[in-house]
């Protein structure tokens, strides 16, 4: 099998960049939502829970279309973003990152929420009696204890972002070098005569990237578990 072509390399680099920014920007929001769902009781909590999980059950193309309506140049949010910050999402790699982030969000929140629910709140109470403010407790007790969940959520979201297709192609289309990520590139190649070899190469790269991410998360999660749980954990 021949080496990767420049176009293929470009798709890989773009995919990594999109997935990285997708995860990096949704991480704080994911933590916040996981916190709200795990720890807070408020009206509309079930609605929030449902909204967050929507991308898991709705066809990706629908999510892409919703993004198009909301975030397009004339959409309510898209227009505001453009007028205020001069930022365009539609047909840009940033839009691709947003689409990937929305699609990966339920996975991220779920992992974080589970790990947050598993944190022993009695340890947090103990920290309070030792003079730590609630924020201090969150940073020095809660966050370290839920770190394996954060890691797992991040990796899952990263892998999901690498594979995002439906919402991406609907929202930001298929522009080489801008929004043509690995899955979009593979789709394009399968529609092209003589594209089979390249599609196969990118598919293998795609699998390797996913496996690599999972392996790395496994190793890191073990290290973290050892560090926070001792040998009995």
């Amino acid at each position: 099998m021949a080496a990767l072509s420049d176009l293929e390399l470009e798709a890989i680099r773009l995919s990594l960049r999109v997935a990285f920014w997708s995860v990096a920007t949704s991480l704080p929001a994911g933590l916040l939502v996981a916190w709200l769902l795990a720890r807070c009781r408020f009206p509309g909590r079930l609605l929030l829970d449902g909204l967050v999980h929507l991308p898991l059950v709705v066809p990706p193309v629908v999510i892409g279309y919703i993004l198009l309506v909301l975030m397009g140049r004339r959409g309510p949010i898209g227009a505001w973003l453009y007028d205020t910050f001069g930022v365009t999402l539609i047909f840009t790699w940033r839009g691709a990152a947003l689409a990937a982030a929305v699609m990966a969000f339920p996975l991220m929140v779920r992992a974080m929420r589970l790990s947050l629910e598993a944190v022993d709140r009695r340890l947090e109470a103990a920290a309070r009696t030792l003079g730590a403010t609630p924020l201090d407790v969150f940073l020095t007790v809660t966050l370290p204890l839920m770190s394996p969940g954060i890691l797992v959520g991040t990796v899952l979201a990263f892998a999901r972002s690498l594979g995002e297709f439906g919402a991406t192609i609907t929202f930001v289309s298929n522009i080489p070098g801008e929004t043509r990520t690995i899955p979009v590139a593979i789709y394009t190649l399968t529609q092209t005569p003589d594209g089979d070899a390249a599609a196969l190469r990118l598919s293998i790269v795609s699998i390797l990237l996913a496996l690599g991410a999972l392996a790395m998360s496994e190793i890191l999660a073990r290290t973290l578990h050892r560090r926070i749980g001792g040998p009995h954990a």
Partner: protein, 365 residues
């Protein structure tokens, strides 16, 4: 002074407790499980909010529902040692120990880590993770961690209950050292009579969410009406005594107390040691004349103070032999001896009944 008045309701359980006690030495919150003692401790620390009430420590108001004061736990300066240790699993023993210390203003740091490590024998454990420590070691680290936050009051919430007897014996001396070496008031939550006797100066006796009695340990254990609440089937008194010497030939130890001298099975304690001795009412009998030719070694003279109402065949008689003493005798004997308050009697205390478990070292004078 620790002033506490708390009301709260959780399901069927109603807490309605008020007491005041000097904020020094060890104050036991004593009672059966479910009596509300841990709830009070949790409220003192600010981890649970009472519906109404007031908590003040040495004049500083920590909680007052009328004045809308409710200090956050981190601002109350109350150290808390939990039943289950609650060490942070992601930190080493050292990280745990210094967690509160690092959050204490420099000016308030009266205890330094080296002193606490030495006091609790922690030097060999510092680099280890909580998961690798034994239960007893974990509890020592938990105590050290609370101490190093330099609290104004330390709460020990049944710190021995999760440990087996051998580990308890390992921790008890450390708690005694806290009491004796540091001028730190301690609230000790317990349902164990042995711990109460050994450690506490004063006690708040809790029953079903209410305060049944507040006072010195001697007073509370000596009160007949509280016997059922203290979980003791035996009414007993606690005598403050001092080791006078050993009777080597007969394996006895001589103790002196306010009523005279007491000989008990040999204790491995040097002369001059202060001890507290529990004497059960059933091991005390009464004679009207100085008995001779009896097997009982300990005979002291005194007067009858009170004759409690008969409970079936048995009657508890309170004596004053220079210090209070309960005797449990039959109603028949009371009748035959014509006992009445004020009458002079001799109390006979059975020496073999007092074993090492009834004698604990008291705090050094």
């Amino acid at each position: 002074m620790l002033e506490v008045a708390l009301r709260a309701r959780r399901g069927d359980f109603v807490l309605d407790a008020a007491f005041e006690a000097p904020a020094r030495g060890i104050l036991a919150l004593f009672g059966r499980s479910g009596s509300g003692k841990t709830t009070i401790a949790t409220m003192l620390a600010g981890l649970l909010r009472p519906e109404t009430g007031r908590i003040a420590l040495d004049g500083a108001v920590l909680f007052d529902s009328a004045g809308r004061v409710d200090l956050a736990p981190e601002r109350r300066r109350i150290g808390y040692v939990f039943q289950e240790g609650r060490l942070f699993p992601h930190l080493t023993a050292r990280g745990n120990l210094l967690y509160g210390w690092r959050r204490t203003e420099k000016a308030r740091r009266r205890l330094n880590p080296e002193r606490v490590f030495a006091l609790l024998g922690l030097d060999g454990l510092l680099g280890r993770r909580p998961g690798t420590l034994s239960g007893g070691e974990q509890q020592r680290v938990a105590i050290g961690r609370a101490l190093l936050s330099n609290p104004s009051l330390l709460i020990l919430d049944e710190p021995l209950s999760s440990l087996d007897p051998a580990r308890r014996a390992e921790i008890l001396p450390f708690i005694e050292r806290l009491r004796d070496d540091l001028a730190l008031p301690i609230v000790y939550v317990s349902h164990d009579m042995g711990e109460l006797l050994r450690l506490a100066d004063r006690a708040v006796l809790m029953a079903e969410g209410r305060v049944a009695a507040v006072g010195t340990v001697e007073d509370i254990l000596g009160r007949l009406d509280l016997a059922a609440l203290t979980g003791m089937h035996e009414v007993a008194v606690v005598l403050e005594a001092r080791v006078v010497g050993q009777d080597e030939a007969f394996h006895l130890t001589r103790l002196s107390f306010a009523g005279g001298e007491l000989r008990v099975p040999r204790l491995e304690l040097p002369a001059g040691t202060s001890v507290r001795v529990r004497v059960n009412a059933r091991d005390v009998s009464i004679a009207l004349t100085a008995p001779s030719a009896v097997s009982i070694l300990n005979i002291v003279s005194g007067t009858v103070v009170e004759i409690a109402p008969a409970d079936g065949a048995q009657v508890h008689v309170r004596l004053d032999v220079g210090t209070p003493l309960w005797a449990r005798i039959t109603a028949r004997s009371v009748h035959d001896l014509e006992l009445r308050p004020g009458g002079p009697v001799y109390a006979m205390i059975k020496a073999v009944a007092i074993d090492a478990r009834d004698v604990v070292r008291a705090r050094p004078a």
